[in-house]
């Protein structure tokens, strides 16, 4: 691999002259620049980004950590963040961190290989985040509830997830449902746990009894699990023990719907169902599924702007937190479609 040294040697000029020529510095004459460029091409010279980063004491990289790049929860966010960063010419790289593999993410964080990180994976422990966030690499954490993050360079962006679970349950109750089943998703998902808590709170608030046998556990949060778990619910619907189902994710709901239809149960006439997250799939089925939107994109735009602010030093954690807290976008919105019947 050729370096600027080789170019300098070939041309009989100094290394710094080559460097400046390559970076189009006004200090260098056009003739020299041309010669340098030609020599570079001739020697097959390519820049060494690592050396540049070391010298500049900056990587120009933002790390985006996700546990699953498939989920719209992530991809929607990605798009928004990428747009904002692009405008500032900051590079975004994605790293996955899940139960199978977390090493890369931890290595990138612990070795300061980025100028900032957005962490959407729940597999990076609070302690770890706390330990490594610093002035040169602030860390934004999403989707966890912990208030315990004390580090000045850690920003915790959290919705009131329980509240959202509460809201959609309330929505069902207000439309006359009294026997509402809940289908939990993946056991390791904190998200579905919060929704479950919200579900419980809502029942309590309206004076409805919590029926243990109306709460179902899926082994995951996806379509297949929804389909499978709903098999165990069918009977209770037929015997009128259930008039609505709250699925912890839209994917679960779509899978469930499929099973219900196969079993000849009409949605929403025989049973109402709701999902969670407003994934695209929820509107693709018949009937389209009523769900709740968390305004993830708007939130992420704010996050991106805040992150950029922290990177260039124009914002502190305090500014950001203050701004986020009083922000209206943190309210979720129920998307009414065809899967809920008014039973009053």
């Amino acid at each position: 691999m050729a370096t600027i040294k080789d170019i300098a040697k070939l041309l009989g000029i100094s290394v710094s002259a080559v460097s400046m020529a390559l970076n189009d510095s006004p200090e260098i004459g056009d003739k020299t620049k041309k010669r340098v460029r030609e020599a570079a091409k001739q020697l097959n010279y390519v820049k060494n980004g690592t050396a540049i980063d070391l010298q500049r004491q900056k990587t120009n990289i933002v790390l985006f950590i996700t546990d699953n790049p498939t989920r719209p929860y992530f991809t929607d966010s990605l798009q928004v963040v990428q747009n904002e960063l692009m405008m500032k010419d900051i590079d975004l790289v994605i790293i996955t961190a899940n139960n199978k593999h977390i090493g890369t993410a931890e290595r990138f964080i612990s070795e300061n290989r980025a100028d900032a990180v957005i962490c959407m994976s729940k597999f990076i422990p609070d302690d770890f985040v706390n330990m490594y966030a610093n002035k040169n690499m602030p860390i934004f954490v999403l989707g966890r509830k912990s208030d315990l993050i004390a580090n000045e360079f850690v920003v915790n962006v959290a919705l009131d997830y329980e509240r959202v679970g509460e809201d959609i349950t309330e929505y069902l109750i207000q439309r006359g449902h009294r026997k509402i089943a809940f289908v939990r998703g993946s056991k390791t998902s904190v998200g579905t746990k919060y929704r479950y808590e919200g579900y419980l709170r809502s029942l309590k608030r309206f004076g409805l009894k919590v029926e243990k046998n109306l709460i179902f556990e899926a082994n995951g949060s996806d379509y297949d699990q929804g389909y499978h778990t709903t098999g165990k619910i069918i009977e209770k619907i037929i015997s009128k023990q259930i008039d609505a189902i709250f699925y912890a994710t839209d994917d679960l709901a779509v899978g469930g719907l499929q099973k219900l239809l196969e079993k000849g149960i009409s949605v929403p006439d025989d049973v109402s169902i709701v999902g969670y997250n407003n994934y695209p799939i929820s509107k693709m089925v018949t009937p389209p599924i009523t769900t709740v939107d968390l305004h993830q994109q708007k939130i992420m735009r704010r996050v991106a702007k805040a992150l950029i602010g922290m990177m260039d030093g124009s914002k502190t954690k305090e500014d950001i937190v203050k701004r986020l807290q009083k922000d209206a976008i943190f309210h979720s919105e129920i998307i009414e479609r065809g899967s809920v019947k008014n039973r009053e």
Copy 2:
């Protein structure tokens, strides 16, 4: 930010001793190691990955470039590749390159910021790949047909895409369909173009005339486009001008199916449909859609192994190409489900 220099100064020992202690070298005594570790903690020392890379002349990073991290085409591949790399403790980072943003990918490539790259994005031009691939950074290109890549460190992994389009068209013909419509996807997608060519070839081979008005252009390859474009096909189905539709992607097919059902057209009784790629969504709908699987995962396992081989110098491009070419996994497989009727 504290460096090993600071630790050395604090402890009154040399920089090299600190470095060796931190890397648990057998040359250093346990006492010293302990002192160093404590000092590091006290000073909040974190490693600088950039400096390490520069010194080692290696990044330990494989770049995975995709135009869209949502697609199963990508995520399936990702999983496989990640598994293989994990076993060798190689880090994988994902970068998106699409019509909106290509700068980051190009910067990473042109600045040698990885030890190898897998490129699934069609937005990185052949020339660019050719120009920057080198001994220290081989590039594997997927999903393009160009044979023009001459660089010794570029490996082009290409299925016979046209052949696949041909096969599934043949499948329809053999089941008695004679009036087969084709729905093209995104204009910029080379993939759907190949399928189109395959479709044409198949018609020709069976002596069927190509009806221009049975070929429809969608403005993209997703659900919404399938739904929308199918609106323009309805009439021709009712008037029996069409007995089957070949959608260029499963997403298109699912969107199309939705529209067909809404319009009261029965699939497959009134019209048969097929998709392409065996995306999970294609089995989630009613009726499940017959499609074709390209065995992407098996291919990617081979790719990953080949890539690792090239990184450690145990394999050359020649070895790899030879191996890939005679490989049975490059045959696709038709997944029969409920969306095609036998009309013979």
